[in-house]
Each structure stands twice: as C-alpha cells, then as structure tokens.
C-alpha cells in the first residue's frame, strides 16, 4: 500500500515540475493533450462502471467545446464560468438523449451513443451561422487571467489541465470508494440482483452517464480555449472510438487506467515518429494486441510481469 502511494507521489512530482524541466512548447503540448484525453476518458470509465459502452463520447466533448465557445464569444461570459457550464450542458444533453433509450434493451445504448456522434456532427455542420459549419469557429479567446496569471504561453495551460485532471482523479477515486461507486459496480455485475434489492438501475445508469459526459464537456471546453479553434473534425466517430480504446488499453479495472491509456496512446505515435495518417492503424493494432495479450490493460502489466495471474473484470 505504501509502495503504491510512493509511486503516485513520484509521478505527481514529475508532473508538477515538468514545465520547469522543459520549456519546449511541443513537449508541453503533448502533455496538455494527454491531460485533455485523460479527463475525458475518465468519464468513459465511469459510464462503463455500470456496464454501459458509450461509443460516442467525443460528441459530448464537442458539446462542451461549442457550448463553451458560444458562452464566451456570444454571451460574453468569462471562461471560468463557461467551463463548468459547458460540463453541465453536456450532462443535460446526455440526460435528454439517455433517458428514452435507457429503458430499452442495453444494446441500443451502444447504437444510439454511436449514432449520436454523427448526429452532433450533422447539427454542427447544418447550423453554420451559429456553429461555424465545416470550417469551425476560429479565434476562440483563451481563459481570462486568474490570480494574475495570463494564458499567453503553454505553461499556464499545462498547470490548468493538470489541476483539472487531478481534481477529476480525486473525484473518480471518491466515487469508487463511496456507496455510489458500489451501486454502479453492482449494476455492472448483476443488474437483476441489484434491482431485486431495491436499486433503481435506470436512475443510477443515468447518473453515471450524465457524470461521465460532464467530464467530456469539461475537456471539450478546455480544448476549445486552448487550441483557440473548434471544428467538427476534432470530434468525429474516430475520436469517440479513441476514447474507448484509451480506457481499454490503460485498463478499465483501475482508476489509473484512463491516465495510462491516454499517456501511452499519445506518446506512442510520437515515439514512432509516424505521420497522422498512421494513427488509426497504430491505435487499432495496439488495441488488438492488448485485448489478446493483456486484456486487463496496461495497469495489469506490473502484476503480469511478476508472474501473478491478475483476474480481469
């Protein structure tokens, strides 16, 4: 137990001092990207903890990105208000979409979340005056200065996403330990049993889904104000599948899974120095390898190397 904590501490210190060690903007950008994906993918894991497979997660990132953009650019709100609102709007859309389909057979959930990714893209594309169409929306302002920190270089963005990721991590750990987390996992293990002891599975599946999409919205909002640009191309079906792949590669069984998965999958293409066109193939190959060789994900690697047979869940 103490060993695990030490490892966490080391990682934390490394992460905190990264911009001090290197001011290379390219490198920082890489880690900022990891942070964005990690935050979003934690949401996927939360949804999966009730046994639901969300195949359109990037759509909720898009909702967050566009909501945040419009709130700051059209409604004049400060980023610091638009950011949490973007998350809540994503949750609300999740509620509206999820409510009718949750009542129906489970497989439809995957289908509709998949289709929803495309629906969002179509809405963005067909409403160009408000949502910018294919070209997207440029010149999105960065966050307003806070505590006299100005968001003019990558470093403040890095610390911001680090803070967001840490907060998300703590939230996820809290859920896992709480009764709510137990309720989620009991629904996943046996929803009939859960129902028979008085758990309203629809309600809790909905809660998990809305919470998961909240974090997607947050990450989308950050995305928009960091890249100063948002476009339907960033949040396609492929990105949604990436969200799923990242959590599986990292390992669904552990809270650290989404972080490991996002980290690994962002760094590998860099390491291989491959062009962007190779991304889908590389990701697919990694996913398939993981599913065959290390089904519990990267988190189970240390145990596997030590020869222990880790029971996957």
């Amino acid at each position: 137990m103490a060993k695990v904590k030490l490892g966490h501490l080391i990682v934390l210190i490394v992460l905190l001092t990264l911009p001090v060690a290197t001011r290379d903007p390219y490198f920082l950008n890489l880690f900022i990207t990891v942070g964005i994906w990690t935050t979003s993918v934690w949401g996927v894991r939360l949804i999966m903890s009730t046994g639901q497979l969300t195949l359109g997660h990037a759509a909720y990132m898009a909702v967050g990105a566009y909501a945040s953009t419009l709130l700051t650019m059209k409604a004049g709100l400060s980023f610091w208000l638009a950011f949490p609102l973007a998350g809540m709007i994503s949750s609300l859309i999740a509620l509206l979409i999820g409510y009718p389909i949750l009542r129906i057979k489970g497989v439809y959930f995957s289908i509709i979340t998949f289709a929803f990714a495309e629906i969002i893209r179509l809405i963005i594309v067909h409403w160009p005056d408000v949502l910018g169409g294919y070209g997207g929306i440029p010149s999105i302002p960065p966050p307003q200065p806070i505590f006299s920190i100005r968001f003019t270089s990558r470093v403040p963005f890095y610390y911001l996403i680090l803070a967001i990721s840490l907060a998300t991590y703590l939230f996820m750990v809290r859920i896992e330990k709480s009764r709510l987390g137990r309720i989620f996992s009991s629904i996943h293990e046996s929803d009939t049993l859960a129902e028979s002891i008085g758990i309203n599975i629809m309600k809790y599946k909905m809660i998990a889904f809305c919470l998961g999409c909240f974090f997607a919205g947050l990450s989308g909002s950050f995305y928009a104000h960091y890249f100063n640009f948002t476009s339907p191309e960033f949040f396609t079906i492929w990105q949604s599948i990436y969200c799923l792949i990242f959590v599986i590669v990292g390992g669904v069984g552990s809270v650290l899974g989404p972080f490991l998965g996002s980290l690994f999958m962002t760094l590998v293409p860099e390491f291989l120095r491959v062009a962007k066109e190779y991304e889908p193939v590389v990701y697919a190959i990694i996913l398939i390898l993981i599913m065959f060789l290390l089904p519990g994900g990267l988190v189970t690697l240390p145990d596997r190397l030590r020869g222990k047979e880790k029971k996957t869940h």
Binding site: A115, Y278, V281, Y283, A284, L287, M291
Partner: protein, 285 residues
C-alpha cells in the same frame, strides 16, 4: 412535378434503398445469429468498392467478373476476421463489440494508408440510358437494382429452404439447443460472416461506379446499417428490407425536396422508432 421526374426520384430511391437492404441484411444476419453488433461490417462495404476499383481499373477485368471476385475475396476476408479476431471473444459481450470496433479501425486505417484519403472513381459498368415511363434513367442504376434484387432473392431462398439456412435459423433461435442437435455453431458463424460480408462488399461494388470511393465509407455504411436495423428491427431480414427501402425512398425524395437536411432524416426516424416502437417495425417485443 412531372411524372418523369417522379420516376427518376423513385428509381433513385429504389436503388439507394436496395443497397441499404444489402448492407443492413448482412448486419442483421450477424446480429441475429451471432448476437454481435459488427461495427466492422461497413469496412467490408468499403473494401467491396475498393476491390472492384482495383480489379477493374488496374487489372482490367470486366465489371461483373470484378464484382463476383470481390464478393468472394471479401467473403473470405470476413471469415478470416471471424476466425482470428471475433471467435476468441465470442462469448464475451463487451469485448466482442470492442474488437469489432478495433477491426473497423484497422481496416479503415489500412485503407487510408494504402489508398490515401482522396476519392477514387470507378468507370461506369455500362453506359447508356433507357427510357422508363417517360423518364430517362442510366442503365447503370438498373444494373444495381437488378443485381441487388437478385442477391436478396438468393439470400432469402437460401435461408428459407437450404439445410444450412435452416441451421442458421436454429442457431439464431437458441444457440445451445442447436449445438445439442449437432449443428456446428462455429462453422455456422463463419458462414454467416462470409455471406454477410460478401453482401456488404457487393453493395460497395455496385455503388462504386456511381459514387466516389474513399476509406471513410466504412463508418458511414455502418451508420446507415444501424439506422436501417433500428427502424426495421435488429436481427430481422424482413425488417432490413422494409427499413432499407424506407430509408432509401426517404433520402431520395428528401434530397430532392428538402435538400441537405435530409442527412438527418434517418436519425429523426430512429428517434421516432425508439420512442414509439422500440423493437422496430419487424422486431420482437
């Protein structure tokens, strides 16, 4: 609008609808028999288009030979994908879905690398026009229509009357019972994948000369398949036929009169179906 125009839009809808039927039937077949949402299904559609493109443009084969050959190749590919990637996860619900998505990405990604992201075109099979009820229609489209009808008829007859077809239906009904009766579940699954993929490939090949071919077709094909099977009923071939034709006509008439917004029509119908008849037109409650 005048009658000739109506005929044109109708035939267009019929053609589109029949291709959707081909794709969706394969998808429904896989779900009905294997209980798998094969998200990689659309990739076989895309490969059908590319295979036809390669065989006819680069090897100079005539179209119909290219079509048949494409179907055979893709059937084989579908069976290989099942044997090496789907079978190990056969009894695990979520991993099956994930591996299907992974394969979809693999095939789509490879196509992207090999063929590049630019659209390719396949030269038309047959040139010429024909007059039906006053409307001028390309023979091309009639070829698609008749080929699709031929394939669907073959499929329906096969499933209804052949021994293998009956075996497939038995497995779809109750896997364990079928196994107890001595039906090879694994070989049934393999055959199912082969047939379904071939149908998807055929759809891709048939439409290739009419539209452009690019590696992103796969996901769009799966989306269409999903829309059709939700409307028609998951696992139902009559549902795939009804849903596919319905979608085809809605899109054809929609694009003519409503323009771009027609893209959303399919999803609107999906929402309506889920609200009022979630099991689809032909699905079971």
């Amino acid at each position: 609008m005048d009658f000739a125009f109506f005929v044109q839009v109708f035939i267009n809808g019929l053609m589109l609808g029949l291709t959707y039927v081909l794709i969706a039937s394969g998808f429904s077949l896989i779900y009905g028999i294997m209980r798998l949402l094969n998200f990689a299904h659309g990739e076989f559609y895309m490969l059908g288009a590319f295979a036809t493109y390669l065989l006819s443009e680069h090897l100079g084969l005539d179209y119909f030979t290219a079509l048949i050959l494409s179907m055979i190749i893709i059937a084989g590919l579908g069976m290989l994908v099942y044997r090496f990637f789907f079978r190990p996860f056969r009894d695990q619900h979520d991993p099956s879905l994930v591996i299907a998505l992974g394969i979809a990405m693999l095939i789509g990604g490879l196509a992207l690398l090999i063929f590049g992201e630019k659209d390719k075109s396949v030269s038309p099979v047959v040139s010429g026009v024909i007059q039906i009820l006053g409307a001028t229609l390309s023979v091309e489209r009639m070829v698609v229509i008749f080929s699709a009808i031929l394939l669907m008829t073959a499929l329906t007859l096969f499933i209804k009357f052949s021994k293998t077809g009956q075996a497939m239906r038995a497995v779809a009904q109750d896997r364990e019972a079928a196994a107890l009766q001595g039906i090879g579940v694994d070989s049934t699954f393999m055959l199912c994948m082969g047939i379904s993929s071939a149908l998807a490939g055929a759809a891709g090949a048939l439409l290739a000369p009419l539209f452009f071919v690019n590696p992103f077709l796969g996901m769009h094909a799966v989306l269409k398949a999903l829309v059709v099977v939700v409307i028609g009923g998951l696992g139902s071939i009559p549902g795939a036929i009804a849903g596919g034709l319905l979608l085809g006509f809605v899109e054809s008439f929609g694009t003519t009169f409503l323009g771009d917004i027609t893209e959303m029509m399919g999803f609107v119908m999906v929402m309506l179906v889920l609200l009022f008849r979630p099991q689809g037109l032909f699905g079971h409650g």
